[in-house]
Structures are given as C-alpha cells and as structure tokens.
C-alpha cells in the first residue's frame, strides 16, 4: 500500500519506475509505472508464505533455498533475485530503491551488478515485527547487511531511525526520516450506512462508546495490553464496546484473555476485513487505539482519523510524530490508556475536539511531499541520477 502511493507520487514528480513484485497479477491503476512479476505465483499464494511472520521461515540461508520451490518464501526471494539480475543486465538503472528485508537481498545484488546507488527504505525491522521478542536471526542478518551496504537509508519515522542507529549500529547521518502519508482519494466513493455492524450501532444508540482497532493480531500490536486496559476502563465506566477488526496468530489467545478478564461480551472479533467491512469498522468506532509495542509508522491511525475517530496512540508508534491532536501513552501503561478512554467516553467536548482537530491535521500530510523528498534524495546520490 505505502509503496503503491509512493510510486504514484514519484511518477507524478517525473520518475520512471520499474516496480518488481514477487507474484503475477493484473495491476489496475498502475499505468504510471512498469510492473514486473518475478514469479508465477498468485498474490494469495505469495501472501500465504507469511512474509510478515518470520516464524514461518525455517531459519535457512538463501544458498540453501531452492529457487524452483515457490512454496517456500526463501525460494520466492531467490527467484525474485534472479529476475532482478536479468533485468539489470538488459536495462540501465539510476537508483535502486529496496523496501524492507524481502527485497533487500535483490537490492544488494543489483548494486553489485550495476554500481548504481542503493537506497534501503525501512518500513519495519525484525525488531518491530517480533514485538518484545528478539525475532528471526536470518532476517536480522539480511537487514544488517543491507543497511551496511546501502548508500542511503530512509526510515519512516524517528522511532525507526533510532532502531536502525542503535540496534544495527548504523551512523545516524546515513539515515533520513521520511514519514508516510495518506491518499484519501484512493479510498473511493463511500457513504456510511450503519448496516455492517448493526449490533454495535444499536449499542451506540444506547449511549455506548465503541473503541476500535484495525490490525493484524500479532505480538507487535500490543493487543493483550489493550484488552487489559479495556477491562480496567470498564471498571470505571460500563458503556464500552471494543471492536477488534482483523486476524492473526494471536486471535485465540485474545479471545481467551477477554473471557478471563470478564469482558468477553464487550469485545467483538470480526476476523479479516476488507472493502466495505474494513471501512465500516472505522466508521462505527468512536475511538481508535493503536496499541503497538513497536510501530514504525502506522497508517491505520490516519485512516481512522479520516473516519472521524479520536486517536489514542502508543509512544512507540511513528505516526504519533506527525500528529499533535491525539492522546499518547506508553504501550505497557494500561491505566493511562484506560483513563484516556474513559475521559473521551464521558466528555462530548473532549471527543469532539480530538476528532475535529486531528482531522484538520492528517490531510496536510501528502504522498507528494514524500515523493518530493525521495526525488531530492535520488538527485543527491553520487552517480548523478537522471530523472
């Protein structure tokens, strides 16, 4: 999603882009760039490999992977690299812009072959993905190599920059922060009809406040802390319902926890949502909580702001760096989160001011600004990029 918007804005800014994805699919609305499919996989097969879930990796190094075995993520990556090798042999490139660990090896290989400057764009590190755990050592190693080899690093927030500097020992002056943005036009036409979550709408009519989050249920997202805060808030104010939209490995654990906390009837699990159900999850909510233990940016917060939610965001989430009209808390501080939720639920003025003021803030943030800063970065790179 972020790459799509960034590429679009870059093309408008005058860049020619060859965009390599690890699957085959038709790509509507991508006429501004050339999309190359590096494998014969469908997107569903490809995402079934668990790129965001490094537990599914067997910890193998790339040389052990079989490029012909596309049921394995390492195999897909190897085949992706082969595609890039062939591509750069036939085409001139000015700059290589690799996003996250999945394409970092291909980026490094392209740099070896072409000597074009390598820009590594970090949307998330393995430290972010693994929450309070260490994460996968193979992924750490790939990230470490690429960060060292990169000519320039782009981080999506100061939080991510500090992880790169402190945990990968990269000099700070090699890392530039370019925050993500939101393109609300891409959401398409939409009118909220109060149908999808009819039960929650009924609760709202009875004076309930709906606290929502839209996310993957992984340890990174801090949802167990969120549920504990939900129980704590419900001790002080009983007209709360909590909407957990999404799915993931922690789903069963979260369901068990909400029962243990005695708030199972207040917590609503939607499963994986997209399209209208996805947008309606924001629309039915009054408060959006981003409870992440480590969130490089967190675009969902901007989406929630667009749908008139008051925002409560952990200090460990990068999106908080571009917003002022929000509540912040430390991810472990369930009392503060509970206090903030009760405060909003019991004051129309507070809810109204937060919602209205953040809405004026978030749409000042544009992908065009992101593209302009990337273009300036390309222009500064050593081999004199022509665009």
């Amino acid at each position: 999603m972020a790459c799509y918007h960034m590429s679009k804005a870059l093309a408008i800014a005058g860049a020619e882009i060859d965009f390599v994805v690890p699957y085959q699919a038709s790509h509507p609305d991508t006429e501004f760039m050339t999309v190359h499919g590096a494998t014969p996989l469908t997107p569903l097969e490809r995402y079934g490999l668990g790129a965001y879930d490094s537990d599914m990796l067997l910890g193998r190094h790339l040389k052990d992977a079989d490029a012909n075995d596309l049921t394995d993520m390492r195999g897909v990556q190897k085949s992706y690299i082969r595609f890039v090798e062939e591509f750069v042999a036939d085409n001139h490139v000015d700059a290589i812009h690799a996003h996250d660990w999945l394409t970092m090896e291909a980026g490094m290989r392209a740099k070896e072959l072409t000597d074009a400057p390598l820009i590594v764009h970090v949307h998330a590190t393995e430290f972010d993905r693994s929450g309070e755990n260490f994460g996968n050592p193979v992924v750490h190693e790939i990230e470490q190599q690429a960060l060292m080899m990169a000519d320039r690093i782009v981080a999506v927030s100061n939080i991510t920059k500090s992880i790169i500097v402190q945990r990968y020992n990269i000099p700070a002056d090699k890392v530039e922060v370019i925050h993500n943005a939101i393109d609300v036009d891409s959401f398409g036409p939409y009118q909220y009809d109060r149908e999808t979550y009819r039960y929650l709408e009924e609760l709202k009519r009875e004076g309930y406040t709906i606290v929502g989050t839209v996310t993957r249920f992984t340890i990174q997202k801090g949802l167990t802390h969120f549920l504990k805060a939900a129980a704590r808030a419900s001790e002080k104010y009983d007209k709360f319902a909590f909407l957990l939209a999404g799915d993931g490995e922690q789903r069963n654990e979260l369901m068990r926890l909400s029962a243990e906390l005695g708030i199972a009837d207040k917590v609503f699990f939607t499963g994986f949502v997209r399209g209208k159900q996805w947008r309606d999850a924001y629309s039915v909510s009054d408060i959006f909580v981003m409870s992440s233990v480590s969130e490089p940016f967190g675009l969902t917060a901007l989406e929630a702001a667009h749908h008139d939610n008051a925002l409560i965001i952990t200090r460990q989430s990068g999106v908080g760096e571009v917003l002022n009209n929000i509540f912040r808390y430390e991810f472990w501080d369930i009392d503060t989160l509970a206090d903030q939720m009760v405060g909003i639920a019991t004051s129309r003025a507070l809810a109204g001011e937060l919602t209205a003021n953040v809405k004026r803030e978030y749409d000042r943030i544009s992908w065009h600004d992101v593209a302009a800063r990337c273009m300036a970065l390309y222009a500064r790179m050593k081999s004199g990029v022509t665009v």
Binding site: N324, N325, F327, D335, D339, G343, A349, L350, E353, N357
Partner: protein
C-alpha cells in the same frame, strides 16, 4: 503641571497545577495539586522554588535596591492568593522580601481575585467573594488596603468597570488596544463609560511588550535592546502626554527573560536613566489616578484582555473542552458552598484559576504552532482529562457530604 511619569505594574502569580490525576484516583485520593514526580513542571513546589531562585529573590532584591537608591522610584504589584499560599509554604523568605518592599510605602498592592479566576464571567457572587478574600489576605500579610482593581488576564469590559466603580475602587486597569482606542493614546487616564468616580489606566502594550516578550528575541531588529534606546522610546511615546503605563508579568524578570539575557542590568540602568531627568518620575497606580484628570470617556462593551494578537478570551474559553470544564465547575457553586467544608471549598476555588483552562487551549496545536503551547502537560487533552477527573472527585466528595443527588458521570 504634573511630572512626566511611568506607572510600572507587575503581576505575580503561580497556579495550583493539577497533577497527573487519573480516573483511578477519583473517589480515592483528593490531592489534586501534589504531583509526586519531582521532575515535572506539574510539581508546584518544584516550580515555585525554581522561579523563586531565578526571579522572585533577585528581582525583589533589585527593586529594594532601586527604592533605596532613588526616592522617586515606585512600583505597583498584584499578587495572587494562590501564589501567596505556595510562597508561605515553600519560600517564606520571598513573602518577607515582598513585605519589605511594601513597607517602604512606595510599593502599592493592586486588588484582584484571590484565585486568579474568570469568575466575573460565570458568577458575580463568587467573583465578589474572591475579591474579598484577596483583600483580606493582603491585609493579613501586608497590612494595607487596596484601592485599584485588575481582573484576571486584564479581562475588562464596561460592565466590569461599572461593578468596580459601585464597589468603591478608584481605579481599574485594562489593555490599551488600538481597535478600541482608535485615534486615542494609551498614555492618558480615562473615565470608563457609564461610571461616576473610577479612573481607567491603559497598558502601553508596545513599550511593555518590548521588555516582556521581545527583549531576548535575537530575530527582533532592535535586539539587543539598550537602556538608552528604551529610555528614548519612552520619552518619544510620552511626548506631551501625561504618563506611560508599563504593565507586565513580574516573572518577565528572570523567568521569561533569564538573567543571562541581561534583563536585570537593563532594568536597573533604565530606572536610573529615566530618573536622571528631573522632569521625570514614577507613579504608583493610585498616584497616577490622583495626579491626572481623565482625558475623556472610553467604552469597551466587548471583553478585551492582554493576551495574544486577538486580545480576547479565546485562549481560555475558545474550545468546547474549556467551556465544558468551567460550566461544570461553576454549576457546583451552591452545593459546594453550603457544605462549609473549608478544604472542599478551597479545592473547588483552586480549580477556578484561569491557568487550568489555558492549558486546554488547542488553537496552537491546530495551527501547527506547538511551540507556542506553554504548559506542564503533554497536550491540551491531557490537561482536560486530569481536570475532569479532579472535578468528578469534587462531585464525589459533595455526594458523600450531602448524601444526595447523582454524580452525573
């Protein structure tokens, strides 16, 4: 012919800041004003001791020195009750230094609400009680009566002037704001519209703000400001007029403008230079009124304050949170007062201090000018949250006292 004079008036204030007071404290702890974190600017003891060191002690020493050196030097002070309470508790030597100033007979105390509140706009009865409380506190600590009034944030309108006249004050202070003055100069005494006996003194905001806001601003064309330049500006401004009124926060000296900006030396030199011309003098606010007849009548039907470019109350009452907070607070008035519970009443009044709603101001956040947000809280929303939790605790205590009524959320 009266002498050319400067009326210097300084405002001394510290609020009782609300601690990080959560909904889990409500109905359990009633210590709203004692943040245990000694590193935060919500900790009132820490802030008072810091400002005493940087401002109150050195400035009072300088004022005393100037009073001893120059028989013509005079100054007027308004000192809030919430400041006096804190200084009595944590820095009694600062109280003594103010007493020494007042005992010279050339330092006048100006009247205001004890709690630095906006009560005038919510409850006239409560407002009067707070004026009385302040007069009593000043009498107790300084042994003097007040006769000139200033309202919180210099918030002034014709109705206030009428009230002050009826009450018996002989003078009142306001901002000398151009859209109200039009062609008139702030350097005269005026008669507020619809009053009989009271006189109005107007702040010369250009000369006042040169010191209070711009003195250390290196972006300012006039930086660094010398006492010679400032003396000549004061002379130019005065012209054939009667007086120049310099009104500012006392904490300008040493706290808003740190000692290393040279503010103390600047001020000492300026007083000396001004008085080196024997035609010049200083007036207390009472003397300024006694010495000069009103040059004309002036009407301010709409409230004017000394704050921001708007000179209105939007920094305190501009958003729904601020309005809701004060509406709920003043709604408790009769129930609180009839408890006769001194601590409960004092806590309710301490929450009326205008600083609390000022911390809830969102206009700088929304304009993206976060640096203009001077507050001990992370955001205006946090300020509102802790305030409301404390207000709910007041309701809980009321409920416990009367044993009737609901808590209303």
């Amino acid at each position: 012919m009266s002498r050319r004079g400067i009326t210097l008036y300084l405002h001394v204030h510290q609020p009782w800041r609300v601690r990080k007071y959560s909904i889990f404290d409500t109905a359990h702890e009633h210590d709203y004003f004692s943040d245990p974190d000694t590193n935060t600017d919500r900790n009132n003891e820490k802030v008072l001791k810091k400002v005493a060191e940087k401002s109150y002690r050195p400035m009072n020493a300088l004022l005393l020195k100037l009073l001893e050196t120059h028989p013509e030097f005079k100054v007027s002070l308004s000192i809030t009750g919430t400041f006096l309470e804190q200084a009595q508790r944590w820095t009694p030597d600062v109280i003594e230094s103010f007493q020494r100033l007042v005992h010279t007979g050339r330092v006048e105390i100006v009247a205001e609400t004890y709690y630095h509140s906006l009560a005038f706009f919510y409850s006239r009865e409560e407002f009067v009680r707070q004026v009385e409380l302040h007069r009593a506190k000043i009498r107790e600590l300084f042994g003097v009566e007040t006769s000139v009034f200033r309202n919180t944030e210099l918030a002034y309108n014709d109705e206030l002037a009428k009230w002050a006249d009826d009450y018996g004050f002989k003078g009142i202070l306001a901002e000398g704001w151009d859209p109200v003055l039009e062609w008139r100069s702030p350097n005269h005494v005026y008669r507020p519209a619809g009053t009989e006996n009271i006189a109005l003194l107007l702040k010369n905001y250009r000369l006042s703000d040169d010191v209070a806001f711009r003195f250390s601003n290196k972006e300012w064309q006039q930086w660094p400001l010398s006492s010679d330049t400032y003396t000549s500006w004061a002379n130019d401004s005065l012209g054939d007029n009667a007086l120049v009124n310099l009104f500012m926060d006392y904490e300008t000296f040493g706290e808003h403008q740190w000692a290393d900006t040279g503010i103390f030396d600047f001020f000492e030199q300026f007083v000396g230079k001004w008085l080196s011309n024997s035609d010049n003098t200083f007036y207390t606010v009472s003397e300024a009124i006694e010495t000069h007849k009103p040059a004309g009548e002036l009407s301010m039907p709409r409230t004017v304050t000394w704050a921001d470019t708007e000179r209105d109350l939007t920094a305190w009452l501009g958003n729904n949170m601020q309005q809701e907070a004060l509406r709920y607070l003043y709604n408790l008035e009769s129930d609180i007062l009839r408890t006769n519970d001194r601590q409960l009443i004092a806590d309710w009044r301490s929450l009326q201090t205008s600083d609390h709603v000022y911390y809830m101001c969102t206009k700088w956040f929304t304009d993206g000018d976060v640096h203009a947000y001077f507050s001990p809280y992370d955001s205006p929303y946090d300020a509102f949250l802790y305030f409301m939790n404390a207000l709910r605790d007041l309701r809980y205590r009321l409920h416990a006292h009367h044993g009737t009524g609901g808590l209303h959320g």
